[in-house]
Amino acid sequence: MSSELPSDPDADATPCQYTEYREGGDVEDLPATGEDADGLEAAVWDVLYEIEDPEMPISIVDLGLIYGVDATDATDGDGSDVTIAMTLTYTGCPAREMLLSQVTDEVGAVDGVADASVQLVWSPEWTLEMVTEQGEEDLKEFGLSI
């Protein structure tokens, strides 16, 4: 179980769980890069690194869209269920469905993953500060300085 998810989807849902990551300064833990992940979660992070933003040559991880990866034993059958907490830079993002399907499909194809789902989160809000150093370099090469 990773500690990077802002909320635990298995826990009893109460409004309080939202308070924690809204006010708890979790922004400091972002961007999440999976550097401490191991086993299956590390394999999932590797796949996520390969997925690029549809408009710019930058990994969605380096863009700071991924807030966490959480693998739990599958409720039925073998393998693990993986939940990816992620956000989008813009609520009106026209590539939303494309990007979310790509994430669930590619993570779902990782060996050992029984089911992959995305939990779309909007708090904390994505900001430029969530772009990693690698992401800044990729954007610079693309012609964007941030």
Partner: protein
């Protein structure tokens, strides 16, 4: 796919579920229908910049509608239920959002976005401390994308008010739109509305939001030399409202044609589900 795997829907009793849903419908439907109308200006606005600006505002509002509809999906609805196969009489938007533009009248678009965006800012503030976490969590993101909407409307108000013709057009737009704008603060149902406030899903009652809105927009419009069609003491009664307020499902005939327009492709293609932009990658 649920967008919020940990939504606390299960913690609500039936009355609370109804209250949260009414709140989400009025938020989502306002945004969606307002955006549908705004897009009619695409390639028709007076300048390229204003065309891009209003189109972009429409895209923002569609994004915000999606954030609210996502939360309704947590109650078991899917996109066709919420939009493309929904009974048009169950939509809860304010009738100002469905009202057709006066043909070719840019001042209508400007006054409308101004009246709407002031109201939207106030209602988002009243959701910042919502007791329903998933609503509260979306407010900041939406606010961050709303900043320039008012700036756009106000800069155009300045320009239009600077000559007699613009002034006359603004006055006509205010006269026409103001009664409809008041429906933004009408309840979907008085009992359910009381529950929305009692449970602090929204922390301010509609009448207080309406008063704040009036104290904001009336002096502003008057500062341009415009008359605002309300009584001297500022009291709003049902006589100030149009026959159809929208919130209660009672809509104008224009809504039917707008609904037919945005569902036409879905019906023509014989869809039974909302499609994605492209086939899933193999």
């Amino acid at each position: 796919m649920s967008s919020t795997a940990a939504a606390p829907v299960e913690d609500l009793d039936d009355d609370q579920r109804e209250a949260v849903q009414h709140l989400l419908y009025r938020l989502g439907d306002d945004e969606f229908v307002a955006a549908e109308r705004y897009t009619e200006w695409q390639v028709r606005a007076p300048t390229l910049e204003s065309d891009l600006a209003l189109s972009n505002i429409a895209q923002d509002e569609l994004g915000h509608a999606r954030l609210w509809y996502d939360l309704l999906q947590d109650f078991g609805y899917d996109e066709p239920d919420l939009l493309f196969e929904r009974d048009p009489e169950t939509f809860r938007h304010s009738t100002m959002t469905e009202l057709p533009f006066e043909e070719g009248d840019w001042s209508d678009a400007i006054v409308r976005t101004y009246l709407y965006d002031v109201a939207e800012d106030l209602r988002l503030e009243a959701l910042e401390d919502s007791s329903y976490g998933p609503i509260r969590d979306r407010v900041g993101k939406i606010q961050s994308e709303e900043d320039y909407h008012l700036e756009h409307a106000e800069s155009w108000l300045d320009r239009l008010a600077s000559d007699d013709d613009g002034q006359r057009r603004l006055q006509e737009a205010v006269d026409r739109l103001f009664p409809y704008a008041l429906t933004l603060f009408e309840p979907t149902d008085p009992d359910v509305e009381a529950r929305i406030v009692d449970n602090e899903y929204r922390t301010e009652p509609l009448d207080e939001l309406g008063e704040e809105w009036l104290s904001n927009v009336v002096p502003k419009l008057e500062s341009y030399g415009l008359d605002v069609p309300i009584s001297e003491d500022g009291t709003i009664t049902s006589a100030d409202l149009p026959p159809e307020i929208g919130r209660d499902g009672n809509h104008m005939d224009d809504w039917e044609s707008l609904y037919d327009d945005f569902t036409q492709t879905y019906r023509d293609l014989g869809r039974t589900e909302a499609t994605t932009l492209m086939e899933d990658p193999s």
